[in-house]
Symmetry: C2
Subunit: 202 residues, 2 copies
């Protein structure tokens, strides 16, 4: 069995292509992931001391990784891949992605959860927010105008989600890096709980 008459060019967004994202580990045999180590993303956690201590005591670790396919930045194309968030905490705050708005703010994103247990934190520039639970088989719609961040609340399992967004949407990481999210998901008495972000900047 094989494809019939495919262009044979990998990741050919003009003619179409297939790409594997392993359903068990989330990885692809043809495309590496972008990796985010704790040392590089430590400032996204609210407890700076806990992050420093974690790095000193346990060394650097992979917090998350994801695929960036070279989709043309055209409003009719779609970018997609797998997002993989590892289990772990910094202090009482779960491992998560940095979170981002789209540069073209009026564009949504879809995630379909394949493994693990997590949440998607959504927040609009005006502060409207929700935090939606993800388990395998659940899709989450991140609406236009909302920043989105995946959070892994499982102590052992890896959170894997397949994502799709408009290829020209662009990533605005800066706003979250600068201001933070208004709400954080932390562990309290062994359960996920929402707290106000003490470091949030108006």
């Amino acid at each position: 069995m094989a494809d019939f008459n495919s262009s044979g060019k990998p990741l050919d967004f003009e003619k179409g292509f297939t790409i594997d994202f392993n359903m068990v580990n989330g990885l692809s045999s043809v495309k590496n992931t972008s990796k985010r180590l704790l040392s590089k993303v430590k400032s996204m956690f609210y407890d700076e001391e806990a992050a420093k201590k974690e790095l000193e005591e346990n060394g650097d670790r992979l917090v998350y990784e994801f695929h960036e396919l070279p989709a043309p930045e055209h409003d009719g194309d779609l970018a997609f891949g797998m997002s993989i968030v590892y289990p772990g905490k910094v202090g009482n705050e779960y491992y998560m992605t940095k979170g981002h708005f789209h540069t073209i703010l009026d564009t949504g994103e879809v995630y379909y959860c394949l493994s693990g247990h997590g949440y998607m934190m959504l927040e609009s520039p005006e502060g409207d927010w929700s935090c939606q639970e993800l388990i395998p088989g659940k899709a989450v719609y991140c609406p236009k105008r909302y920043a989105h961040r995946s959070i892994n609340v499982s102590p052992h399992e890896v959170l894997r989600t397949f994502f799709v967004f408009r290829a020209d949407a662009g990533h605005d990481y800066g706003t979250i890096e600068e201001k933070g999210y208004r709400h954080l998901l932390v562990e309290q008495d062994g359960e996920p709980a929402i707290i106000d972000n003490p470091n949030w900047k108006q």
Copy 2:
């Protein structure tokens, strides 16, 4: 465990929502599928006599079903759901979806295969085409301008794919209904093989 601060409104494309698409059977607990019975789609198979005979001898059967979420028709929104194609043949032609262009031709679509064994048939208005194999864990990119049709080549397994497209793309089923695809995927000596469509209209 539960969502935090979600609007509670089902399928709320403005505020965000989650929806389940069962990873085993592809169905959702909150949204029914649109169903395509053989009696309604029999004209998409090239062998009309075989379709008639099949209906007379074995009665009507479900060929495929899929979710249509009420996404706003906005170029920043995304529509998504599960497509489920059952195993079966009409003559030597495999069960498949009708296939469609997008009304806004310059918009792509992504499918991620969760179960089964199938192919995605792609064809541009000018006749450029390919037929790309799908197995679990494989995503296929249907590029802008290409009609796309899922085909189930397994004798027993159900083909399930999670799909995402721009919510305003629209479905042009008419062109394929009228002209057909230039190429068809049929079983020959127990294997999928490409043939020219004898009913194709210029």
